[in-house]
Symmetry: C2
Subunit: 394 residues, 2 copies
DNA sequence: CATTCTTCGTCCTGCAAGTGGAGTAAGTAG
DNA sequence: CTACTTACTCCACTTGCAGGACGAAGAATG
């Protein structure tokens, strides 16, 4: 595993600047990175010697000698793996974190680490062969549960039987032959939106994932905040109704038990069978099963029961979000995950409840918006996670 | 206003180290601050030249030449002002933030900035004359409402009529002739506990103030987190019961409306008049009024109604705290403010509810403790706030 | 008391990083 | 072709700092 990394902070800054801002001239780099021309030239030369950046052609003249363009080496490849509760997504990116190849597959995380990681590696191999790709510089991985970030292992994940303490990072690092970092899937989605999505210019924001489960990523001062045990943002099991249903975690009235992909399909089944929704009953008969997407379709078609379910869910989420907004006072809230696809009615309900319930000072200039990257937030964030690591001095 | 501050980060580090660790030899400083002996000597000489530190006597020999002791100049004085909803506290500290003089007075913040700040300045003058004190290096101020920290002015404070946009920092700075920083009172209490209280070694913790109102200070990575609009930690108006009473803020079911100093005395009055509590009825007759302290006394005396009120309040707080713990995953929670004096039964209820309702991963190693500094947390934190500013390079 | 050892503080030299000016290369404008 | 602009390189000089040498001051030992 030959890992080439920048030698010092200057090189690291230049690299990250090129990654985030794209190719540019030395002069432009100098404007952003506060270094003298001479120093900058030396460091860029060293980066070229390490094959981390390269010069490519000349820029347009700005009235004098044309400057040569510097860019992150086009050889560089990052890998992003997003393991969700019910799917695995894999992407290969270039050094600027543009997605070059992408693949998703339905996969139940409960099949255990061997099966899931094996399948993920199969996808990687497939993508690499299809695209004649060179070796990887690093890989980021998201898993749907709490992670000890420093060790790269899941710790007591509630929905991942068999994964507890499984050495995800070690395994993948050995298999791929490159550095690997593992984090919670919600955290990497937040990072994705921060890097390439709607949160690009936000320094303090929340990313709320509404999917099979419910979770939240905290970005503070531009960096992920993981909490002292690495489980910050675990809002799915906040108690929002002391008389609510019992959750899989054993507690009562968890948000996740009241509104989530799992809860929604459960409620849909009840609505279909009880005859409260003709639309869902028909769907159930056709497909033999019901998912959150069916509820969205039903609401779209004007089904009252489905619409009520979504409104009630939005209200629950909005109410809890209002608490978090009052507490954390973020500059932006991004709603992502599978349920974000339900559409505008959910967002509208979340927004109106959250705005109505929080104090004006906190909500005065607070956008609550849908994710921009959708599915791909996870893999892009995973790539960003490892690229931040590889593109740092060491 | 002659402000002397360290010239560079080294001097700032040395200064803060002496402030927090007390007088010590150059050699000991060198162990903590990673600098060569020569460099350190130069910087300390410069600090002496600026009258920020001085040498005082010799240390015990450790087997060789005795080292000279360096300490923060004993001339240095900081001022801490803690304006609460119903009181004003003022303290003068030395350069190590030891409280040299302290005064509290009952004062209704609703009397407006002129009256309150005037009274605070009177107290300062009194303390200074009584203690023959030299000029102040800086002053920190806490006010019971949201503050624009950079400007030093309260913004839309709900319980401080007349204070909105009042230039607190400018006014006091002109009056005192030294730099002034203004922050929320809960934030400075958190800072106090971080500096001299139970949170000394905690980097990520919550300080929950249960007083006339309810608020929370967030310390993240050792620093206060104020949020994007400076109103982070405003948990008093989180909705915890959609069918609860209407709060002064206009919303329904705010935590503060259900449990706070104000809510408790209100409930006590009801209990006394309805005959549910003989103890409180007697107290009401004696004193003509009831406060949270009376409820505490009643509970202490075995009064069932009072005990129930405290338990119910603790449950409310614990439930909300559980949400915040799941979300933020802190390493410590400190309970402070006037209601913390109610005693163990409140803390016990908060603890059991919070531990029961959060996930084990977040609570596994999470102490929930009472404030160590009590009343003085605010003024110490205020002094710390300004000393961090004055003892920084610039 | 003299000697030796330890620790402390200062002086001084040398290294390493980095700045900014002079000089060169390569373009545009007229 | 000349004048001017911009880009890049080379180099001398400055700055910051580390660490060795050395003297000062005290303890331990004989």
């Amino acid at each position: 595993m030959t890992v080439v990394r920048p030698e010092n902070v200057h090189q690291a800054r230049v690299l990250r600047h090129l990654r985030d801002g794209g190719p540019r001239s030395r002069a432009e780099i100098g404007d952003t990175v506060a270094l003298s021309r001479s120093k900058l030239a030396v460091e860029i030369d060293r980066l070229v010697a390490r094959s981390l950046v390269e010069t490519s052609g000349l820029a347009e003249s700005r009235g004098g000698r044309r400057s040569s363009i510097v860019r992150v080496s086009p050889q560089i490849r990052f890998l992003g793996i997003d393991i969700g509760a019910t799917s695995v997504a894999v992407a290969i990116t270039d050094g600027e974190l543009n997605v070059l190849a992408y693949a998703v597959e339905a996969m139940d995380v409960r099949k255990g680490p061997d099966a899931v990681l094996g399948r993920a590696l199969d996808l990687v191999t497939k993508l690499r062969s299809e695209n004649a790709m060179q070796s990887l510089v690093g890989a980021g991985v998201g898993v749907p549960g709490p992670v000890s970030f420093s060790e790269g292992i899941p710790v007591s994940p509630p929905i991942m039987p068999g994964w507890n303490q499984f050495p995800v990072r070690e395994t993948l690092s050995a298999e791929l032959g490159c550095p690997v970092l593992v984090d919670n899937d919600v955290n990497i989605m937040a990072l994705g939106e921060k890097h390439a999505g709607i949160a690009k210019s936000a320094d303090d924001f929340l990313f709320v994932k509404l999917g099979t489960g419910v979770g939240c990523g905290l970005v503070i001062g531009g960096n992920l905040y993981r909490g002292v045990s690495g489980c910050a943002g675990d809002i799915g099991h906040i108690c929002v109704d002391e008389n609510g249903p019992t959750c899989a975690c054993g507690h009562v009235g968890c948000l996740e038990a009241l509104f989530s992909g799992a809860a929604l399909s459960r409620d849909a089944l009840v609505a279909a069978r009880s005859g409260r929704s003709e639309f869902l009953a028909r769907r159930l008969e056709e497909a033999g099963t019901l998912t959150a997407a069916d509820v969205a379709d039903a609401a779209e078609a004007g089904d009252a029961a489905a619409h009520a379910m979504i409104r009630e869910g939005g209200r629950r989420v909005g109410l809890m979000l209002a608490s978090l907004i009052s507490f954390f006072n973020p500059g932006l809230v991004v709603i992502g995950g599978g349920l974000a696809r339900i559409g505008h009615s959910l967002l509208a309900e979340i927004r109106s409840t959250a705005y109505r319930t929080s104090l004006p000072l906190a909500t005065g200039n607070l956008p609550i918006v849908l994710s921009e990257l959708g599915d791909r937030a996870g893999v892009i964030g995973a790539a960003r996670l490892i690229s931040d690591h590889v593109f740092s001095a060491g």
